[in-house]
């Protein structure tokens, strides 16, 4: 009889709440009971409030138990979870078949199809779950046809700016250069986002495949993944996957006997939020300070080391293999308006059921918060929700019906960005959040544009005076004027969008800025 398969995530978030200790406890307890088990360290399923989420495979179906700290393992064995599936309700930690848990079943997993399912270190596992089918299709196609497929899919950059990927790729394909590059932006700095990290740790090969397809489509031969230092687990996963891909000729100078060449390397960032901005990232890769470049020239024409460069986010590249495999029409069919396909949303902050929810564009934010998020972790009412990272607007209850769509968010002076959703309950002080936005901008400004470099520090001071009630109407006028200067006087999104959180806090939660009666939700 073959060993019982038990899955314990190796994802950093799961490890951060004790998954390693849980895996060890399972191995120890199984040995004590003389049960033959094979422990697979998979990625996370994204049901993060259940981490460490342990799955036991019975007759080809995986049954979920969570959260399982190490000290709950003996009890699960005693309850018999290793001999038959414990039905939901029969044990406090039993949730039934993983794929029937509503939180998971209601998602449309395209780019995250394999995350949590496979062993991220196994190329064989990747191949057994439709891996490298997109590349196989791409190897049969002309570069222009690959680009056309990506364009037809409607895929837009998932890093936050939502620029159509096909247009970027087409520009690089048409550009002349002795060398061309494919660069992956894995500098996921937005608070409230972790989809890049989860994808890399759970399914690193899909990113490698997507980048390889981008290289074939544009004639690039060298690629870099710029990964933030805060993700050491992702670094290990990527480096192991790259080595395996080289060994099996999915990377290197003769990809699958096609004669095509693509060399890929991981480079680490060093703690600079601004390096998530594409031109700063390129400067950093060149070994310089991560300062924003003027555009034009576009990176697609003169990018890394002055050469034509495709630069996209992790999720953008990870969406490409399935587009090539299943066809552009299949991908394009998901979504609404000009937002096509799916977006992995990340429910974060003070939320009861935090995790990753990959769904087609179009669902309302409230539906996502209610049906998936389940309200706040603290049990108090939701007061504000920040969507799109530190440069995204704080939305009040009245705006929560906005559909998850790039254009709909732009209309309410917000942005969907990289899909991060941070929930705050009614204890939040929105004046403090606005002040933090300015402080963050001051800490992370690259220093190139004066409004951002100096205006952010002045912004903190103005908010302090406003809240202290020193000539408040004048301070408010000054703050609004400063925000306008930042919007129009900054080269990149950091200075240009920091007014979003500041002004949304001021406009929707004015009471928090008023001294002395800084009343909250009771109002």
């Amino acid at each position: 009889m073959s060993a019982l398969k038990i899955f314990v995530p190796v994802d950093a978030a799961a490890r951060g709440v004790g998954a390693d200790e849980t895996a060890l406890a399972i191995a120890t307890e199984a040995r004590r009971r003389q049960i033959d088990v094979q422990i697979v360290r998979n990625g996370s399923r994204g049901l993060l409030w259940l981490e460490p989420l342990v799955e036991v495979e019975m007759a080809g179906q995986r049954h979920a138990y969570g959260p399982v700290p190490a000290d709950a393992v003996a009890d699960l064995f005693a309850a018999g979870f290793a001999s038959s599936a414990l039905p939901t309700g029969s044990h406090a930690l039993a949730h039934g078949p993983t794929e029937r848990i509503p939180y998971f079943a209601r998602q449309q997993r395209l780019s995250f199809a394999r995350v949590g399912l496979v062993d991220p270190r196994s190329l064989a596992d990747y191949l057994a779950h439709d891996g490298y089918r997109g590349l196989a299709a791409a190897l049969e196609m002309q570069p222009a046809d690959i680009v056309a497929a990506v364009s037809a899919s409607g895929l837009r950059g998932r890093g936050g700016a939502a620029f159509p990927a096909g247009i970027k790729w087409k520009t690089v394909l048409g550009a002349l250069g002795s060398e061309k590059y494919v660069v992956c932006n894995a500098d996921e700095g937005d608070s409230g986002t972790f989809s890049d990290r989860m994808l890399i740790e759970g399914d690193p090969f899909v990113l490698i495949e997507g980048m390889t397809i981008a290289a074939l489509a544009t004639g690039a031969t060298r690629g870099y993944i710029y990964l933030r230092w805060e993700y050491p687990d992702a670094k290990r996963a990527l480096e192991a996957a790259i080595a395996a891909a080289y060994a099996a000729h999915y990377l290197g100078n003769d990809i699958q006997g096609s004669g095509k060449c693509f060399e890929l390397e991981v480079r680490m960032g060093a703690g600079a939020y601004i390096c998530g901005e594409e031109t700063s990232l390129l400067e950093s890769l060149e070994g310089k300070r991560g300062q924003v470049r003027f555009k034009p020239p576009l990176p697609a024409i003169a990018g890394l080391f002055g050469k034509p460069t495709v630069i996209n986010n992790v999720i953008t590249f990870a969406s490409v293999p399935i587009i090539l495999d299943r066809g552009a029409a299949n991908y394009q069919h998901f979504g609404m308006g000009r937002s096509r396909g799916t977006l992995p949303m990340q429910l974060a902050g003070n939320v009861k059921y935090g995790g990753l929810v990959e769904i087609a564009f179009g669902m309302s934010l409230r539906e996502l918060l209610d049906d998936f998020g389940g309200g706040t972790l603290s049990g108090r009412p939701i007061r504000a929700v920040q969507v799109g990272g530190p440069l995204g607007a704080y939305l009040p209850q009245s705006q929560l019906d906005t559909p998850l769509d790039y254009e709909a968010f732009a209309e309410i002076k917000g942005m969907l960005g990289h899909g991060g959703i941070v929930v705050f309950d009614d204890t939040v002080d929105m004046a403090a959040q606005a002040r933090y936005a300015m402080e963050f901008c001051a800490i992370e400004s690259c220093g190139k544009c004066t409004p951002c470099r100096i205006g952010s520090t002045r912004g903190v001071e103005v908010i302090d005076r406003l809240v202290a009630g020193v000539n408040a109407p004048e301070q408010e006028a000054l703050l609004r004027d400063l925000c306008e200067t930042l919007t129009y006087g900054s080269l990149c999104a950091l200075g240009g969008l920091i007014p979003y959180p500041v002004l949304s806090a001021l406009n929707h939660f004015p009471d928090d800025f008023v001294k002395p009666q800084r009343a909250h939700a009771s109002a």
């Binding site: 700095g189 680490m268 991560g290 991060g420």
Partner: protein, 177 residues
């Protein structure tokens, strides 16, 4: 008209002055010779130096500049730009505490105050016993399970003040990883 023998010759210093210990210097030299051929080698070199020494000593700057044939200002400019690079020797363990919004929503400000009070240091400081350095960090990508800290390279989620104390005590008791 000119007599070459009267020309004042400015000696080129092939050996930049450095107060590094032999071992530290060897680590810097090894990082440089191993990585200087890479395109855009400066960040990989700084990472390698910090990985082996725990920080990037000021006196390593001239050595790195010489290896890459760039100016001291360029190396210093890059070193000082990135928050991750330590310019001074830190504690045996580095605690990175997340200050970003998702952790704020779960009480990161309170955890920060607790950490500073119990360790007796501010951000960028090191405890008197040389065990712990405290650094701020802006998102560890663990936003659904905050508040988060990273101790050395290990991410920790749902860090209450009690759990923080336990993690710090565990780090103090452990030898350098």
């Amino acid at each position: 008209m000119t007599n070459p023998s009267h020309r004042r010759v400015i000696p080129i210093k092939s050996e930049p002055p450095s107060s590094l210990s032999d071992a530290d210097r060897a680590a810097v030299d090894s990082a440089c010779s191993r990585l200087k051929h890479l395109p855009g080698a400066l960040l990989p070199i700084l990472h390698a130096v910090q990985e082996s020494l725990g920080f990037v000593p000021r006196d390593s700057v001239p050595l790195i500049a010489r290896a890459l044939n760039i100016s001291l200002a360029e190396v210093h400019g890059v070193l000082s730009f990135y928050h991750y690079f330590r310019k001074e020797r830190g504690g045996r363990h580095v605690v990175h505490l997340c200050r970003a919004e998702a952790c704020q929503a779960l009480g990161a400000a309170g955890l920060e105050a607790h950490a500073k009070r119990t360790l007796g240091i501010d951000f960028h400081g090191t405890t008197a016993d040389g065990a712990i350095s405290l650094e701020p960090v802006y998102c560890l990508g663990n936003c659904a399970l905050g508040p988060s800290v990273m101790i050395d390279e290990e991410l920790q989620g749902r860090v209450s003040t009690t759990r923080f104390d336990a993690l710090v005590a565990k780090a103090r008791a452990a030898v350098k990883p």
